[in-house]
C-alpha cells in the first residue's frame, strides 16, 4: 500500500468529506472543491524540485517550488541553515563558477533571483523572458544564460548587471540548460516538440521532433542543433567530468499508432540520449525493461569517475542506475535503433532504487559517494549511498504535517503506478500539468478514428464537459473508469484516489498570461481584435448569426460556452463534426490547434481550416484584422 495512506490519518476526515462531496457531485453538476473542507489555500508544501551542493560540499541547497524559497541545509547533518524567499514558482537554479552566487529562475513572475551565498540573501532580482526555467553562468562569469519556457528562447544576460544582451532561438518549451565541463558550450533541452519544419498536410500525424540546442558560450550564438527524432519531452542533461559523454533524459511517445495497449511499451518509451566523443555520435538508449518502466525520467547525473549514470524517474518513483562502461560497450557493439527493444536495458541498468514521490532533481557529492534526490511530492530528500545503491537517509523538509487532498491528487497525477506495468501516468502526456504538444489516436473512438490534440489542463474548472466530443460530463468521468480502461489498462482507482485526483486537476491554476500588458489594458491591436471578437455584423454590415460569432461559442470568463458545435473542421477520420468548445485560457501556449492538432498556429485555424466561415465569420477580414483578432485571443 502506498505510504500516503498512512499519512492520511491526520487529515483523513477532511479528505473523506472532500471525497464524498466530489463523488456525490458526479451526477449532480460541477464539483465545488474549493467549497469543501480542503480549500488548498493554506498549503505550503516545500515541493523540492532541484538540489545543489556547494563547491566545498558543506551546504545542500534545495529549490522548493511550492514554498517559493531556497532552503540551505548543512550537508553534514542536514539541519536547516536558512530559508531564502525567492519569486513565484521557482523552477531552476545554479551556482556561479566561484560558488559565490546562486541564480534562481522564478517561472511565474519572469524574473531571476540572485542570492549571495555568503550573506544567504537575495541581492538582486532581474527581469527575464517568459517562464524562465533554468539558468547557467559561463565560466568567465560574464554572462548568464536563461531558458525561457514560454518564449522558447535562451536569454543572454550580463552576469553583473542582469542587462539582457539578446535571445537565442531554442526548442519549443526550452527548460533545461547545462554547461560543458570545459565551459565552451551551453546545451539546452525543451519539453514540447518543435513545430514540423515542412508543411505536408499531415503535420498532426508525424513523429515529434526535438533538439538539443548547442550554444557557443564565448560567442553566445547557436552553433548546432542535435536532432532528437520521435522525442517529445526532454529534461535534464549532464556531462562526464572529461566532457566526453553527455546524457539527456527524455520521453519517446508512440503517438502514431493507436493507443490500444501498453504491453511492450505500447504508449511510451523512456530513454536517454547519449552523445559525445565516447559515443561517437548520438544514440537513444532505453531505460525501460520488459515488464517495468522507468516512467518520466527527469534528473540525470554522471559519477565523477564516469562509471555510473543516475536517472530520476518521476513516475516510477525510483532512481535508475546505469553502468557506463557496459552501456558504452553495448552501444558500440549494437549499432542501430535500440529504443524498441525492451530487453536491452538489462545490459547496462544495474539498479533501480526506490525513492519518494515524484523524484526530480539530483546532485552528486564531489567524491560521488552520495546522491541527493529531491522528492517533489513528499517533501523529502533521499540520500543514496552510491556504493550500496540504496537510500541511506531520507531528509524530511519542514512543511505541513499532514497531507492534503490536493497533494494526494497531485501524487496520483504524477505517478505511473496505476497503469499496466507502471508505464504511464497523467503527467506522461500532461508534462508539468500542461500538455505535450502531441496528437494521439485513442482506442475508444476506433483505430485511426478521431485523432485528438492533447488539451491543456490549467484552469479547466467549470469548463465541463470534457473530451473533444464533450462526452465526459465531469472530471471524475474523464479521469475515472475511462482512463483506467483505455489508458492505464490496469488497477482501478479507489473512489478516494479518484476524488483526490479530481480535486487536484480542478484546482490547477492558470499560468500568468504574458500577452496582457502590465497595466491590464489592451494594446490598440488587442482592442481592435476584441471588437472583432465581439462583433455581430460583418464588414458588409450583414448580421452574423449568433452561432457564428466568436463571442457566442467562446463566451464566459474562460472563453467557452461549454456547448458543442460543428465548426467545419471534421476530417474523413472523424466520427462526428460536433466538437466541444475549448476554453481560451492561455491559448497562445497550446499549439497545435483544433481538435486534431491540424492547425499548427492560431492563424491556420482561419487561413486554412475555415473556408466556409463555419468557425466564425472571418473571411471578410483583412490580414491585419485577423492579426488583431489573434492578438486579442492571446490575452485570454
Amino acid at each position: 500500500m502506498r505510504r500516503a495512506l498512512q499519512m492520511r490519518v491526520a487529515l483523513g476526515f477532511v479528505a473523506a468529506i472532500a471525497a464524498v462531496i466530489v463523488t456525490a457531485s458526479w451526477n449532480h453538476g460541477p464539483v465545488r472543491a474549493a467549497d469543501g473542507p480542503d480549500a488548498n489555500t493554506t498549503e505550503n508544501y516545500a515541493s523540492p524540485l532541484e538540489v545543489l551542493l556547494s563547491p566545498d560540499g558543506a551546504r545542500l541547497y534545495v529549490l522548493c517550488q511550492q514554498s517559493e524559497e531556497i532552503r540551505v541545509l548543512n550537508a553534514a547533518n542536514y539541519a536547516v541553515i536558512k530559508k531564502i524567499a525567492v519569486g513565484r514558482v521557482p523552477r531552476g537554479f545554479s551556482l556561479s563558477p566561484d560558488g559565490k552566487r546562486i541564480i534562481v529562475t522564478n517561472s511565474w513572475d519572469d524574473t531571476i533571483s540572485v542570492i549571495d551565498t555568503g550573506k544567504l540573501a537575495v541581492i538582486a532580482t532581474w527581469a527575464v523572458g517568459a517562464e524562465p526555467s533554468s539558468v547557467v553562468e559561463d565560466r568567465a562569469g560574464k554572462r548568464l544564460f536563461v531558458a525561457n519556457r514560454v518564449s522558447n528562447d535562451v536569454a543572454v544576460l550580463d552576469a553583473e548587471t542582469g542587462a539582457e544582451e539578446k535571445r537565442l532561438l531554442a526548442g519549443r518549451g526550452v527548460s533545461y540548460l547545462a554547461i560543458s565541463p570545459d565551459g565552451g558550450r551551453i546545451y539546452a533541452t525543451h519539453i514540447y516538440p518543435n513545430p514540423p519544419a515542412v508543411r505536408t498536410g499531415l503535420e498532426n500525424r508525424t513523429a515529434p521532433e526535438s533538439e538539443i540546442t548547442v550554444i557557443d558560450a564565448a560567442r553566445a550564438v547557436v552553433t548546432e542543433r542535435i536532432p532528437l527524432h520521435s522525442i517529445a519531452g526532454v529534461f535534464h542533461l549532464a556531462f562526464s567530468n572529461d566532457g566526453r559523454l553527455g546524457v539527456a533524459a527524455q520521453y519517446h511517445p508512440k503517438n502514431l499508432v493507436p493507443l490500444a495497449h501498453l504491453e511492450h511499451g505500447g504508449a511510451f518509451a523512456y530513454t536517454l540520449t547519449v552523445f559525445g566523443a565516447d559515443v561517437g555520435g548520438t544514440v537513444e538508449v532505453p531505460l525501460d525493461e520488459l515488464e517495468r518502466y522507468a516512467a518520466m525520467p527527469f534528473g540525470v547525473a554522471i559519477s565523477p569517475d564516469k562509471s555510473r549514470i543516475y536517472v530520476t524517474c518521476g513516475g516510477s518513483e525510483m532512481v535508475t542506475v546505469i553502468d557506463v562502461p557496459r552501456m558504452l560497450r553495448f552501444v558500440r557493439n549494437h549499432p542501430g535503433p535500440l529504443v524498441h527493444d525492451l530487453s536491452v536495458s538489462s545490459n547496462y541498468v544495474i539498479a533501480r532504487i526506490a525513492v519518494g514521490h515524484n523524484p526530480r532533481g539530483v546532485a552528486l557529492s564531489r567524491d560521488g559517494s552520495k546522491l541527493f534526490v529531491a522528492n517533489r511530492l513528499d517533501d523529502t530528500i533521499s540520500v543514496i549511498d552510491t556504493r550500496m545503491n540504496r537510500v541511506a537517509k531520507t531528509i524530511k523538509l519542514d512543511g505541513p504535517a499532514g497531507i492534503s487532498v490536493t497533494r494526494l491528487g497531485e501524487q496520483t497525477f504524477y505517478t505511473a503506478r496505476y497503469s499496466f506495468q507502471g508505464q504511464i501516468g497523467c503527467a506522461s502526456c500532461h508534462i508539468d500539468s500542461t500538455l505535450d504538444g502531441v496528437t494521439w489516436d485513442l482506442e475508444p473512438d476506433g483505430f485511426g478514428r478521431d485523432i485528438v490534440d492533447n488539451r491543456i489542463l490549467e484552469d479547466i474548472k467549470d469548463t465541463e464537459p470534457y473530451k473533444w466530443n464533450g462526452g465526459n460530463p465531469d472530471i471524475p468521468t474523464e479521469c475515472g473508469p475511462r482512463t483506467e480502461k483505455y489508458f492505464w489498462r490496469s488497477e482501478t482507482y479507489d473512489n478516494l484516489t479518484l476524488a483526490d485526483l479530481a480535486v487536484y486537476i480542478r484546482n490547477l491554476p492558470p499560468r500568468p498570461n504574458r500577452w496582457r500588458q502590465a497595466d491590464g489594458e489592451l494594446s490598440p491591436a488587442q482592442e481592435r481584435g476584441k471588437v472583432i471578437f465581439e462583433r455581430d455584423v460583418d464588414k458588409f454590415k450583414k448580421p452574423i448569426a449568433e452561432y457564428n460569432r466568436c463571442s457566442y461559442c467562446h463566451s464566459g470568463p474562460k472563453g467557452t460556452s461549454q456547448k458543442s458545435f460543428d465548426v467545419g473542421t471534421r476530417k474523413l477520420t472523424d466520427n462526428s463534426g460536433l466538437l466541444d468548445t475549448p476554453q481560451l485560457t492561455n491559448i497562445a501556449l497550446t499549439a497545435p490547434y483544433l481538435h486534431d492538432g491540424s492547425a499548427q498556429t492560431l492563424e491556420e485555424i482561419w487561413t486554412v481550416f475555415n473556408p466556409d466561415d463555419k468557425h466564425g465569420r472571418t473571411n471578410d477580414l483583412t490580414k491585419d484584422e485577423l492579426n488583431d483578432l489573434i492578438e486579442y485571443l492571446r490575452t485570454r
Partner: protein, 355 residues
C-alpha cells in the same frame, strides 16, 4: 632647334603622362572569382548574397546555399525553406540567425534549423517577400502586400499598408532598418520613412510625379518605382528603375547615366558603404561611387570581354585593364567582406577579391 623640339616634346609627354596619371582616380580593383552550378551553386540565378563572417549565403532561384570551408551546402524546401526562390537575405549579427525572404514566405535559419513564416501560418502580410532587415529584436519585411514588422521576442506582427501609412501602392520592394529610422522602398510609391522614436511616417516622392522625364533634378527622389533602399550613416541611398538618389535629410542628389557614372538607370539594388560611398547593381553592370568618381565593373556590352572603367569628376572615362568581371552584368545583390565584394547576378555569384 631640333634638340629643343625634342626636349619640348619630351617634357610635354612627361607632363601629359603625369597629369593623365594624376587625373585617373584610384578606384578599387578586383579579381572576380565566379561561382555557378558548375562549382556547387544550386542555381545560376542568384537573387541575393549575404556575408556572414567567413560564410557566404547565396539566395538562388532554386534554394539557399552557404559557402563555408571552400564548399557549398544547399537548403531547399525539404529542409523547411518557405520557397525555393530566395529573393533577399539578412543577418541578425547578434545571434547569427539568417533571415531569408522567398517567393513563398519568410524563413529563419538558426543553427541549421529552418522555421518558416507564411501568410497562412503567421501574421506575415504576403508570401512574396522582396526585402528583409534585422534591427534589434525586430525583423522588418517588405512584401508584395505591404510592409511588416515581426518582434521576435513577443512574436507580434505589425503590418504597414495603405490603411495605416501614406503608402499609395503596397508592392514593397526593399527595406532598410536602423534603430532611428526605417525606410521602405515601394514599387510605384516612392520611399516611406518611419521614425522609430516618434512612430511617425513620412513619404518621399518623385517631384515630377509619374513623368518619366526629370524636370526637377536634385529636388527629390528620382522616380516612384523604387527597387532598393540603403540607409547608412544617416544617408539614404535609393535605387529605382529610372536612376538613383542620395538623401542626407535635407538635400537630394540624383544620379542618371547621362550625368554620372551609372552604367544604366535601371538599378536593381544599392548598398551604401557610408555617407559618401555606395555600390549599385544595374542591368548593365556593377558600379561604385566614391562620392566623386565612379567605377564600373562588367563584361563589355560590345565584345563581352571583362572591363573596368573609371569616370572622374569631370566626366572623363578611363579604361582600366582587367582580366575578370562579375559573372553577369545583370546585378541583383551586393555585400561586402572586408575589402572584398560579393555580387549576386542573373548568371552566377561573384567574389570580387580586392587587388
Amino acid at each position: 632647334m631640333k634638340n629643343l623640339t625634342c626636349f619640348t616634346l619630351f617634357v610635354a609627354a612627361i607632363f601629359m603622362a603625369v597629369t593623365a596619371t594624376a587625373a585617373t582616380p584610384e578606384m578599387p580593383q578586383f579579381r572576380f572569382e565566379n561561382f555557378t552550378t558548375a562549382n556547387g551553386l544550386p542555381d545560376n540565378h542568384v537573387y541575393s548574397v549575404l556575408v556572414d563572417g567567413d560564410r557566404i549565403w547565396a539566395g538562388t532561384d532554386n534554394g539557399l546555399a552557404v559557402y563555408e570551408n571552400h564548399a557549398w551546402k544547399s537548403y531547399t524546401t525539404k529542409d523547411g525553406l518557405a520557397h525555393r526562390a530566395i529573393l533577399t537575405l539578412a543577418l541578425d549579427k547578434r545571434t547569427g540567425d539568417v533571415w531569408a525572404g522567398t517567393m513563398g514566405g519568410l524563413s529563419r535559419i538558426s543553427g541549421g534549423r529552418i522555421d518558416s513564416y507564411t501568410q497562412l501560418n503567421s501574421g506575415l502580410s504576403n508570401d512574396v517577400v522582396y526585402g528583409v532587415a534585422v534591427e534589434g529584436e525586430n525583423v522588418w519585411v517588405a512584401t508584395a502586400a505591404g510592409g511588416c514588422k515581426l518582434n521576435i521576442r513577443t512574436g507580434q506582427w505589425a503590418l504597414y499598408n495603405e490603411r495605416n501609412t501614406p503608402m499609395n501602392e503596397i508592392w514593397v520592394y526593399s527595406v532598410s532598418a536602423t534603430p532611428s529610422k526605417v525606410y521602405y522602398g515601394v514599387w510605384g510609391s516612392g520611399v516611406l520613412e518611419y521614425d522609430q522614436k516618434t512612430g511617425r511616417w513620412d513619404k518621399y516622392d518623385d517631384p515630377d510625379g509619374e513623368n518619366e522625364m526629370v524636370l526637377f533634378k536634385d529636388q527629390g527622389l528620382i522616380h516612384e518605382i523604387v527597387t532598393s533602399v540603403s540607409y547608412v550613416d544617416n544617408i539614404l541611398w535609393a535605387a529605382t528603375y529610372f536612376g538613383d538618389s542620395r538623401y542626407d535629410g535635407r538635400y537630394w542628389h540624383n544620379f542618371l547615366t547621362k550625368d554620372s557614372g551609372l552604367p544604366s538607370n535601371f538599378t536593381n539594388c544599392v548598398k551604401g558603404v557610408d555617407a559618401q560611398r555606395a555600390w549599385f547593381g544595374t542591368d548593365k553592370g556593377l558600379a561604385f561611387y566614391d562620392g566623386v568618381n565612379w567605377a564600373v565593373y562588367r563584361s563589355s556590352v560590345t565584345d563581352g570581354k571583362p572591363e573596368m572603367t573609371v569616370r572622374d569628376a569631370e566626366g572623363k572615362i578611363t579604361p582600366v585593364t582587367v582580366t575578370t568581371a562579375p559573372a553577369h552584368n545583370y546585378v541583383l545583390g551586393i555585400d561586402f567582406q572586408g575589402n572584398d565584394i560579393w555580387v549576386a547576378t542573373a548568371k552566377g555569384l561573384s567574389h570580387g577579391i580586392r587587388q
